[in-house]
Amino acid sequence: MPRLSTVIIGAGHSGLAMSRALAGRGIDHLVLERGQVGNSWRTERWDSLRLLTPNWMNGLPGLPYAGADPDGFPPAATLVRDFESCAAMNGAPLRTETRVLSVTWEAGYKVRTDQETLSSDSIVVATGACALPNIPAFADDLPAGIAQISPITYRRPDDLPPDGVLVVGASASGLQIARELALAGRRTILAVGSHLRLPRRYRGADILTWMHRAGVFDTPYDQVDDIERVRRTPSLPLMGSDTHETLDLNALQDLGVEIVGRFAAIAEGKAQFSGSLANFCASADLKMNRLLDAVDRRIEADGLQVPDAERSAPTRVPDAPRLTLDLARSGIGTLVWATGYRPDHHWLHLPVFDRKGRIRHDGGVIGDGLYVMGLPYLRSRHSTHIAGATADAEALAGHLAERLPRRHAA
């Protein structure tokens, strides 16, 4: 097979956005996907999951939302159908059921897959930011009788052993799973570290509408004070539902969820929780109120006629949160590691990683014709959102086109 201009690895929304941007520039390419388009949404999400971003933020490349409910939250299955329409509409040159095993440099990029080996002038890594759960090393010390799962493997409450559940992590995934388990009647304990807090709706609109309007998502990556810190910011602590309900620690405690501090260690079969819960909750409340202050200022500056501000009550922190938990004796059968995700780039055999194993990049440009997409705050906070991939793909495709050998120039 002749050498390609570009191989895109991964057919999630990032890979499809790049494919469309390259097609628009007449650049020949292939998209390699180990499963089917939108594989993550088919195989790595729990049954009840609905997107936490409203329809207007989930437009796939070339397929902006045109339905009647821009503020609704689609189930994952709807998104999968949209993925199929998107790929068909764009005529993306797809190779599905093709897993990339390695990428190396041998006078050009060599992409070895479980089907064939390809060569290419440039590579776009679009294999997702949430490929693997981030599980602390001390997970190995857990008693053997306790099932350990992550949001990637969790499907539904009934699959878990019939005991209590310790959910670790209070970002979107952990909050949503803890809520579902509590509603299913499970005794649920949630270990809470550094987290964020947001109301679903504020002053008559969705919080994401206001964050948009206040410009929270727009700052380009190269104008952020401390990009490393911002890239570590946890996901938006929200859930999508027809009732637009707010998902926070107060709501979970109302459902009977017990909140404890950060899961710090295991000693003699006992989980130990940090005594810092009160501060993490206070920090989350302060940050939420700072954001809402910014929203209020924007509303005032724009002279909008909207309902008055109503702030959530401070997070209720138990007087003396539990510091230890004897996992076996207290009837905890499952531990859900909702402690964040990380990408899986182990097949990329090139010296492009920092000491923590993360790809070094400048707004998605790794260098020498290598690009990465879909990482948190790749180019702006929009990069994390589905509809945000289009702008990133345009910028990176422009960069990619400029450095291609002349024969490819359209």
């Binding site: 000693a267 005594g275 920090s283 302060l286 700072r290």
Partner: protein
């Protein structure tokens, strides 16, 4: 407020510029960030002891304070002791307060907030049935610690609360008292 403005406006006596420089340097050479702190403790008499600190390891080499410092500890007459100095647990509370207070000053400097006064009151509750071995269900250490800050500064209540919250997030002693650590004690 950005760092540059902050450095120009507040006068809290914290050299944030140097600290930010150190942070940037550490990102390049993480090994330099490995520190080992030490104290040497001599028994004096009864429950009275004297610890000395001077040398420590860091930035890739042996380092030293400008001189040796001593920290004495003892127990009060209520424990049938001579009361030569603060108790070790009070030293822990003082260390927590000092660490958080230093953090408040550093964060305030970084955020361009002028401090006028900062006072921390610390309390630690303890049931001495634990240390006396009266009740195996009672832990030796504090059952609860409360820190109350009184900060007078050119800032709103929320900004002050955010200073105090951030100082906890970055405090070594706060981490030491809120999280478990493996402690290995040997006999030479």
């Amino acid at each position: 407020m950005n760092v540059e403005n902050a450095l120009k406006t507040a006068r809290n006596g914290v050299n944030t510029e140097a600290l930010m420089g150190a942070r940037a340097a550490l990102a390049e050479t993480p090994a330099a960030g490995q520190f080992t702190w030490r104290a040497e403790c001599d028994w004096v008499h009864g429950t009275h002891s004297r610890s000395t600190v001077q040398g420590f390891f860091g930035l890739g080499a042996e380092q030293s304070h400008t001189r040796a410092f001593t920290v004495e500890a003892d127990h009060p007459p209520q424990f049938a002791a001579a009361d030569n100095a603060a108790t070790p647990v009070e030293i822990v509370l003082s260390a927590l307060a000092s660490c958080l207070t230093a953090g408040v000053a550093a964060v305030a400097q970084h955020r361009g907030i002028q401090l006028r006064s900062v006072k921390a009151n610390v309390e630690g509750d303890m049931d001495i049935a634990g240390i006396l071995g009266v009740d195996a269900d009672v832990r030796n250490g504090f059952s609860a610690i409360r820190v109350s800050f009184d900060v007078d500064a050119d800032a709103t209540g929320d900004e002050i609360a955010a200073l105090v919250a951030q100082s906890q997030k970055r405090s070594a002693v706060f981490d030491i008292v809120t999280n478990p650590s493996n402690v290995k004690v040997t006999v030479a």
